[in-house]
Symmetry: C2
Subunit: 149 residues, 2 copies
């Protein structure tokens, strides 16, 4: 089943952005992610809407962090990306009147809700500055390389 790695990739980008002097263009970010600028804009749009990044048009423009990394949690970015559910598991909806289907779906859904609550709680506990801790500063310039990271 298809995986959505946007959370992982965006966190990666945000931390690199924090180490960058100025704004990062969609093009540069796209190269870093081996994708293209439009996809980057599409994804970053959600983060901008929630206030985590800003975008500036024109010369010298691009994307910048709108707040320090310690104000941004994994949960924040997860929510900003706007995915409805974290699970590949879905419920059947063919026989909503059938008590067996109801019982099965309730049992599954109860578990999904509990597991998702735990996941979101944990995501909320981790801020991006913690992830960036202990990573040497000399890594910063490599982001500026074309293929680099």
């Amino acid at each position: 089943m298809r995986k959505d790695s946007r959370l992982s990739r965006m966190l990666h980008v945000l931390i690199h952005m924090d180490r960058l002097g100025g704004p990062a263009t969609s093009e540069r970010i796209a190269k870093m992610l081996s994708t293209n600028p439009v996809v980057v804009r599409r994804t970053m749009a959600g983060l901008r809407q929630q206030g985590y990044v800003t975008s500036v048009k024109g010369h010298g423009g691009g994307w910048s962090l709108a707040m320090p990394l310690n104000k941004i949690s994994l949960l924040d970015i997860h929510n900003a990306l706007g995915e409805s559910s974290v699970f590949t598991i879905g419920l059947s909806d063919e026989y909503t009147h059938c008590p067996i289907e109801q019982a099965v779906n309730k049992a599954i859904n109860d578990v999904l809700i509990e597991a998702e609550s735990l996941l979101l709680e944990r995501f909320g506990e981790v801020t991006l500055d913690v992830l960036a801790e202990g990573i040497a500063d000399f890594l910063s310039p490599s982001f500026t390389k074309d293929k680099g990271c």
Copy 2:
């Protein structure tokens, strides 16, 4: 993102099967699920391989439960369906050497593992007989109807 409702649907089917006198053909199950027999065989094959159901060819053949419902948990069927991960969230793998990617992926993965453990644990605690409890017996014959359930 696409959802996999096979678990929900198969549990539904298994409980109905338990209330049936004889074996259920792939065709009948397919009608119940608004799908076709080959898809049913494909899905049920995993359950047979793990010993939860048996299949018999030819006249009067079909699918039968190989054990009582109280021996089968949600986890059993989930595992038998053989899906690798329960999450839509995936990790990036573009820069496995990048310490930032590593830190991001470890943080996400730690949470996923914890949440998945809880989910699987809960699935293991629920057996199908519990789901079938309190459901009136007169429902049974309706499974035999063409569109019914």
